[in-house]
Symmetry: C2
Subunit: 223 residues, 2 copies
């Protein structure tokens, strides 16, 4: 069975790819070059796709930076490094998950794949509206009306296998499936060599996750 | 009030822009350069946006041709010219409307716009799954869970003012609002100068629409 897997190059989506592979899916991985600061995650995605036996990996370019509105795409908005706050963080990229899922849906239709895998997580980032289960169910419902495949009765399933896992549980699951997290990049402002800042929300959650999981943190930190 | 208007450069979306303007919206027009054959529609969109007093017009590049699967993006699939058939035509672009609406949603959020205008029509092209009212309602429901704005209680409305109009009624409406259809390009394989083939489904529907409306057809046909 074919599946399209959204692969960012980070810890979460690498784990999701490993889960999809463990369930027997032929995985077509899609990464979106949307103008993110942390472009090192795109080369990480290529390494992860290869290491985990993806059938194919594509990077699609899309200039979301031209819209702005996020610290991840607008160099004039700083990535917060002072610790995780309540509310929706400035690293939220407007409608990003909807766009990425829509692109995955398009590729799935061309491939005649009826499965999408997405590493949304509602535990650590309850702040992101487009990681909430009710949003993901609404996307799936919409997708099942959107396509020629759907109109022909071929149902699409949106899999979010880590939606309710704590970061430490995601890491334990991935380690059990043989994921090499040294290949992944989570930092919002990783340098071009993929070295992490250690200070942004994504770095903090990742580091705390390895600690809680009792797994040595393989992340390369800058400076 | 701000609105994002998806503007293809064709007859339908030009009419939708005129309707949105007539209702008093400040219009931010978005066109997607998705690798379509008929790239002349993109320069048509710029002309239409200007003529109808849009506040801004942007063209976002996105290489859907890399996915293929449509006569509009794959040069190896011919645009049908033998007349309109039953079923979903090969000019259907997988998940295209979902992708375009998702991009419009992103820009709307950055602009703090709560209105999207989209020229879907369910009469002439009942073949396209992503022009059906039930699909559009599902997109709107999803959008209202997707964004920071939605999470903050700012509702988004998806306007589809021509969804149930016949082509001739769309044209009559546009003429009444002062749309100059000579500026628009509908042909699926228009030449670089915007001249229409006169044979594809889109040309056939457009020509029949002008006839039925009793309006002289301003389209420039090639050859």
């Amino acid at each position: 069975m074919r599946a399209v897997v959204l692969l960012s190059g980070g810890l979460d989506s690498a784990t999701v790819l490993a889960i999809a592979r463990s369930e027997g899916y032929d995985c077509y991985c899609l990464s979106i070059d949307y103008g993110q600061r942390h472009r090192a995650e795109l080369s990480a995605a290529a390494r992860v796709a290869k290491a985990l036996g993806a059938r194919e990996h594509r990077v699609l370019a899309l200039d979301l930076a031209s819209f702005g509105g996020s610290a991840l795409t607008d160099r004039n908005i700083a990535v917060p490094v002072a610790g995780i706050k309540d509310g929706i963080p400035v690293t939220y990229v407007p409608a990003r998950n909807t766009i990425m899922l829509a692109l995955a849906l398009a590729w799935a239709e061309v491939l005649a794949a009826q499965h999408l895998f997405f590493g949304a997580n509602a535990v650590d980032y309850s702040g992101y509206p487009d990681c909430r289960p009710e949003y993901l169910r609404a996307f799936e419902a919409m997708a099942n009306l959107a396509t020629k495949a759907a109109a022909g009765g071929r149902r699409l399933t949106l899999h979010t296998p880590i939606i309710s896992l704590a970061k430490s549980d995601i890491i334990r699951r991935g380690v059990a499936l043989g994921v090499d997290y040294a290949l992944t990049v989570s930092c919002y402002q990783a340098d071009d060599d993929g070295r992490a800042c250690g200070l942004c929300d994504s770095c903090r959650l990742r580091r705390a996750g390895f600690e809680a999981a009792g797994v040595p943190d393989p992340t390369r930190y800058a400076g």
